[in-house]
Point group: C2
């Protein structure tokens, strides 16, 4: 056990009133982030290509008393202040490009890990744009793209028995207001800390590091996250 004492917190904005949309809100990661942010008091709109499936996923959370609704992906985008893209990498570019209008002017949080899997575990898929986040930025020129939430275990997010997390959310982007907002949003979830970790051009390795955490999980039988430490 070690105390993780650094980096020192910097002042972040009050984001309590923000509405959060989740593209891919019927997947485990999207449902899990939706659950946690709704539990923190945010109105959450889960989006899906199929509005009916989104409504079902939302109803399951609403049954737990959480302020969650469902919509199609475009609806989840236009209802929200901050939109989390929790979608598979397959189809990532096309899905976001099709929502460019709905996402214009909004903060878009890309948490996509472009990974493949074989008998040795996870490996990194090549992305022509350099990373999923840069790909998002390329097709969403009118949005403020931030990369974050790559290392959060969907299993833990969805487990109601987990009441607090032990991880830092690395937040990357080229717009300070947007990264500050997403850091503050991460900190709405108990135990999570939002740590600024560079510009979007350095997102590829943060996405790819998820492959290493999967290796850690296999070796040590855990759900690994990371903490940033200092002296």
């Amino acid at each position: 056990m070690a105390d993780v004492t650094s980096p020192a917190p910097l002042a972040l904005p009050d984001v309590a009133a923000l509405v959060v949309g989740v593209l891919g809100g019927t997947g485990a990661q999207g449902r899990g982030l939706g659950r946690r942010l709704a539990a923190a008091g945010h109105r959450v709109v889960l989006g899906s290509r199929d509005a009916g499936r989104a409504a079902e996923a939302a109803a399951a959370l609403a049954a737990d008393g959480l302020p969650v609704e469902g919509a199609d992906n475009a609806g989840a985008a236009t209802e929200a202040d901050v939109v989390i893209a929790a979608i598979p990498y397959a189809g990532h570019r096309e899905l976001l490009a099709g929502l460019a209008g709905a996402l214009a002017g909004r903060i878009v949080v890309d948490c996509v890990n472009p990974l493949g899997f074989d008998s040795h575990g996870a490996f990194v898929l090549p992305v022509e744009a350099g990373s999923a986040a840069l790909e998002a930025a390329a097709v969403l020129p009118s949005s403020r793209v931030v990369a974050a939430f790559h290392h959060v275990s969907a299993v833990l997010l969805e487990d109601p028995a987990v009441t607090s997390f032990d991880l830092d959310v690395l937040v990357l982007g080229d717009d300070r207001d947007a990264t500050d907002t997403v850091q503050a949003l991460a900190e709405r979830i108990p135990g999570m800390r939002g740590v600024y970790a560079g510009r979007l051009r350095n997102a590829a390795q943060v996405e790819a590091l998820t492959a290493n955490l999967i290796s850690v999980n296999r070796r040590y039988r855990t759900h690994a996250g990371i903490r940033v430490s200092g002296p």
Copy 2:
């Protein structure tokens, strides 16, 4: 502050008797790792292209009572059980290729971060082999290449006032005995933990993550490391 409680330790070998060679032992990272491993009781041979400069660097540590000698790089390789390549990325491939014979049969620990720098900070350099570690493995087919020690601040390593570290050393490789040995070696330094983090094919992002830690350092004015956390 948070307790980092996971992953659970697995049994590692006793490496106390191993001799450590350091290629690039006159640079800050090489000198710093040499200092710390010598302080842990290892015989350390600092190597350099210029044996005279290596002898000077070694003498500075020996003056502190540490068991450190200097040699040319080939000498540092052949004297050692484990050889740490703490060399600049420029010339990395050529330097290692020229030492392939001296390094045959040994564990070679690559801690090289292929990074460039501009006014926005650090960015990742393209590496044809995929990563510095894979490049090392390609030119050292008779060595056991392990990637580790990428995220250790040379400034802290060299600061005698720093008596303990707060970071995990991510260790990657395809040879379990070799990664276990390097994990154990990392744990000879107070406060460091060696964590297996995947096969060599997943080293690129661990090397590149150093760019993000540099961004953290700039934003938070710290010397950031990482810890792996679990539930």
